[in-house]
């Protein structure tokens, strides 16, 4: 009980202290809002601009979720393909790594030029490139970490390749896959924002990144902070939902999801 209280209370107290210190600093130093708005000003901006910011958030969220879905489906499929053929894994995996380590800001302009009329698609591709690697890498590892004795047992009972995949490798890989998805969720959001920073969405369908840029140009710092707040909350929300999903799927058997010993 006291452990739980501490778990919630301690970070809450730190946050509250931080906000108080922030507001005090702004007031005492009389900082103008275009340099640093206090938390109260930010809250006001969130209240006033909330509806229009939420519209932009929806745009960003759509890209994020589409990129995450693509990362999960294509990443998972690629990992299963890798698990079927060592040759395929050895020949393709380095390119997945290259795609992962190349900074997205450097590739984004190219993708935007190549897909010039399809803003949504180009943003989606950028976000996907950022997000897909953890799913591929983790799932591949998981598929290859099935218990060796169980692999032998399947062999002893004459299991087909498909049966071994379906009944042994895939369940063994599930915790790894879910870890990958959890990381990818956060990365998809980052990818969506970065891509929009580079691409800039024109017209009516502006995402949160454009709103942040715009607020920056106009020195509307309270609005900028409000948009940042929304982004952070979205990231936390995605992580929480994916963690919940992981617990639902493997909570009954996997160590990572088990409650600690009482």
């Amino acid at each position: 009980m006291s452990e739980r209280l501490l778990r919630i209370g301690a970070p809450l107290a730190v946050g509250l202290l931080f906000l108080l210190g922030w507001e005090a600093l702004v007031r005492l130093e009389q900082l103008p809002p275009y340099v640093l708005p206090g938390p109260i000003r930010v809250a006001e901006a969130l209240w006033q601009d909330g509806p229009s910011l939420l519209g932009s958030l929806l745009v960003t969220l759509r890209i994020t979720l589409a990129a995450l879905a693509a990362a999960v489906i294509l990443g998972g499929a690629l990992a299963i393909l890798f698990a079927q053929s060592r040759l395929l894994e050895l020949s393709l995996f380095p390119y997945a790594v290259i795609l992962q380590v190349t900074p997205i800001v450097a590739i984004a302009p190219l993708i935007i030029i190549w897909l010039k009329d399809q803003v949504f698609l180009s943003l989606l591709v950028c976000a996907w490139i950022v997000a897909f690697f953890p799913v591929v890498a983790n799932t591949t590892l998981g598929l290859n970490s099935a218990d060796r004795n169980l692999v032998d047992l399947f062999r002893l009972y004459g299991a087909s390749r498909w049966q071994t995949l379906r009944y042994l490798r895939m369940p063994s890989a599930l915790p790894y896959f879910l870890t990958g998805v959890r990381i990818s969720g956060g990365l998809a959001l980052i990818g969506a924002v970065v891509a929009e920073f580079v691409a800039g969405t024109g017209g009516t369908d502006t995402g949160l990144a454009s709103r942040i840029l715009e607020a920056g140009y106009r020195l509307q710092m309270p609005r900028l902070f409000a948009a940042l707040l929304l982004l952070a909350a979205t990231g936390i929300g995605i992580f929480a939902v994916l963690s919940w999903l992981a617990r639902r799927l493997i909570g009954h058997w996997h160590e990572s999801a088990l409650p600690g010993e009482e």
Partner: protein, 250 residues
């Protein structure tokens, strides 16, 4: 031996890729219905030998011959660890070999219930492995090996990690099932007491490279039960086997 052995090894040798010679010149014929223990110090190649008999590893030289056709497809194997699927319930773990053979759940339900009951696992069908004690997990592992009604049951130090009381109980249950079903058992262990209690015959192995040093019939009548553990003739047999094992380790 007049009966056709259920499995026979001829000149079996195993050399690992690094060049280490693990087994050399193993000749062994196992009579159907016998309970054979392979006894030897750690690292003498007992487990490797068992894997070769199961067809999980090929011998570098020599032959493994099965006495009746199809025996190699009617094997049960129990590993040192329970080796259960943690994501599957007890029932689904035991169902695995039948599922792999393409059998439907409903068709085998009574068979699985019977097997679970024979190992004292009634009421645990829906439990997950992590909810069970080490002894219970091993029971599930044995149930999984028995559910296919194997002709030849191979066990690789299955009880080594269990506490003594649990091991005794499992020894007695295993003997009871063996006498009821008449399968042939090959049991790998490093425990003299365990091998004498269980076996009708013990072969002792020497390490590096693994060779068969001695072939000892155990002249204790079945059925054997807990009372045997304190009987003088049991202690004598243990002493006899123990002396041979010290020779092997020397």
């Amino acid at each position: 031996m007049t009966e056709t052995p259920i499995v026979a090894l001829k000149g079996v040798e195993k050399r690992f890729r690094q060049g280490v010679l693990a087994l050399a010149g193993i000749d062994l014929a196992v009579a159907p219905g016998s309970f054979l223990s392979i006894l030897g110090p750690s690292g003498c190649g007992k487990s490797t030998l068992l894997r070769i008999i199961a067809g999980l590893a090929p011998p570098s030289a020599g032959l493994v011959q099965y006495g009746e056709s199809g025996v190699e497809r009617r094997l049960g194997f129990v590993f040192q660890e329970p080796t259960l699927m943690p994501w599957a319930s007890v029932w689904d773990n035991v169902y695995l070999p039948l599922r792999l053979a393409g059998q439907g759940r409903d068709a085998v339900a009574s068979r699985i219930a019977e097997t679970l009951a024979s190992l004292g696992l009634e009421g645990f069908e829906k439990a997950y492995p992590r909810e069970l004690s080490g002894g219970m997990r091993m029971r599930v592992s044995i149930a999984r090996a028995l559910v296919t009604e194997p002709r030849l049951l191979l066990l690789d130090e299955p009880f080594a990690a269990l506490d003594e009381l649990t091991r005794f109980r499992l020894n007695e249950d295993l003997l009871r099932l063996w006498q009821r079903h008449h399968w042939t058992v090959i049991f790998v262990t490093h425990s003299v007491f365990e091998s004498v209690f269980l076996s009708s015959r013990i072969v002792v192995m020497t390490p590096r490279p693994g060779r068969l040093l001695a072939d000892l019939p155990i002249a204790l009548d079945y059925p054997r039960d807990a009372a045997l553990r304190t009987a003088p003739r049991y202690v004598e047999e243990c002493q006899r086997v123990s002396r041979v094992l010290s020779e092997a380790a020397a």
